[in-house]
Symmetry: C2
Subunit: 312 residues, 2 copies
């Protein structure tokens, strides 16, 4: 259990959908390998508390835990092994659902990309982030497969450089042409007319369409708006939280300042230099052109389109 | 001579004013240590060509070379030693002039900062960038000395991290409270109301007030405009180029992509990952609240205020 929680905490597993899935499987471990003298439901709750404490922003974590809780509650009478088996079945169902959602998101999103488009993305949203085809990364790969993509601009995504370390690797593996840029380059790329479209993922989407995503997303959205560049968010419905009314309610994780003062463990600032390290920011719905989900494209006003998409 | 040019090329000396001064002294070396069989004026032109080729964006380099050329032309009849002596006298005069300009800029700029202000800056513009008190860095230090400053937000300034490596060091030495942030954090800092003012330097200012400065400055200016945060540029008059009509005419240096794919020499992206590395961007005059120069504050419309400030 500690290993699963630690993997999420130190971002060995990251990306909102992948975090949700890791939690689902982690709960199986928590019930199966928990203290035998403790009843299964209590083992579940211990594991759930530990997992919930790892990262506050991505809603998929809470969502996965809540789904698992209802499964645990209905299966706990059968004992720990039966509960763990039911939780494993759920985890596998959620993983399968994510893979299906990713494919649908990719298919729908690819239609937004026009031949020759230079698409800018941020952070990592491909297979490494979801366990499936990816969200924004899936859209980009599908657009490439459809022959609709010119090239990808990848923001390096400081402090942890998911763009350089993960997205560049994924795109390289897939043979999709890309160029890395520092996060501060987005403005000049747009001012020079080198960006036709932005596609990013999300860590949580509020009921009004405000989007929490990796730090830097908000700046990209403001620049896209100024330059008339469409700004798309690709995310499964599980990333939308109807219980979060607006972005102002989203808790933004502050991570260790050493991620800013160090790169790959090596100091890049004087010893003891203080730093602030907000891991996410909130892009207001007004800057989001559309949200690509497995249930289709959501358009403004998002209060309505989101409520409709989430209607059971 | 090669050492001077190389120091500018690899940014051992950087900051527009410091580049201008390094070139001034470099021309002394070029004339004094040049091939004895070559006439002094020709030695001068060889050195000037080498220095001019190092970096295209900062206008102070060209400005310093042009001033030196007129000195060299009037003193060349006296021979190489006399020419070098005259160039050395010029270099020392320019250094003294920069120190005086910095002090005046700091004094004028400090009055713009209100008690408790949280000032955001980018890149490095302190003593390490000018040989004097600094431009934006000088304003910040003077505001702190006057008790007008709450704290400084320092953008790390990828790819070469001048914010983390130089500005953090300077502020630490001066005992000025600061916090480092990744460049992508500026949007969220402003959205949270944590930035009262932006002060940055410049590498070239066009006759219409468009400002070329370190990559990322434009994004900061767009965000400042959205959030109603005043955006000041601090620069000596030598950074204003009346021969550059607008920012569109400013040549933007593209540096080696390895600066993006590596940090302090260590790879942060897969082998061979392609990157684009624009070293500067252009902030349109409409986003600049005022320009702080040694001749006073320049306000829009900049065509007029700049022309007046430069009138001999």
């Amino acid at each position: 259990m500690e290993d699963v929680a630690d993997a999420i905490r130190r971002l060995a597993v990251r990306g909102a959908p992948a975090i949700g899935l890791a939690a689902s499987y982690g709960l199986v471990v928590g019930v199966r390998a928990g203290d035998p003298s403790v009843p299964p439901l209590e083992r579940f709750e211990r594991a759930a508390r530990l997992l919930q404490s790892t990262r506050p922003t991505a809603v998929n974590l809470r969502w996965a835990i809540e789904l698992a809780r209802s499964v645990a509650e209905t299966s706990a009478d059968g004992g720990a092994e039966a509960t763990a088996a039911a939780l494993l079945e759920l985890a596998e169902r959620l993983a399968e659902r994510q893979r299906a959602a990713d494919l649908r998101i990719a298919e729908i999103g690819a239609e937004l990309v026009e031949p020759g488009d230079r698409v800018l993305t941020h952070c990592n949203t491909g297979p490494l982030a979801t366990g499936g085809a990816g969200t924004a990364g899936g859209v980009i790969a599908a657009a490439w497969d459809a022959g609709h993509l010119g090239q990808v601009w990848v923001g390096e995504t400081r402090p942890l450089l998911q763009g350089s370390r993960l997205t560049a690797w994924e795109l390289g593996q897939a043979g999709i042409p890309f160029r890395l840029v520092t996060d501060a380059s987005v403005g000049t790329l747009m001012a020079r007319g080198l960006v036709d479209r932005v596609v990013v993922g999300a860590d949580r989407i509020a009921a009004n369409g405000d989007v929490a995503n990796k730090i830097g997303t908000y700046s990209i959205a403001v620049l896209a708006s100024r330059h008339g560049v469409p700004f798309y968010v690709a995310a499964p419905l599980s990333t939308i939280d109807p219980a979060t009314a607006t972005g102002a309610e989203i808790e933004i994780e502050e991570r260790d300042p050493s991620e800013v003062t160090h790169v790959l463990g090596r100091a890049v600032a004087p010893d003891g230099a203080p730093a602030a390290n907000f891991a996410f920011d909130v892009t207001p719905a007004e800057l989001v052109t559309a949200i690509v989900t497995e249930a289709g494209l959501l358009h403004p006003p998002y209060e309505t389109s989101i409520a409709e998409a989430l209607r059971p």
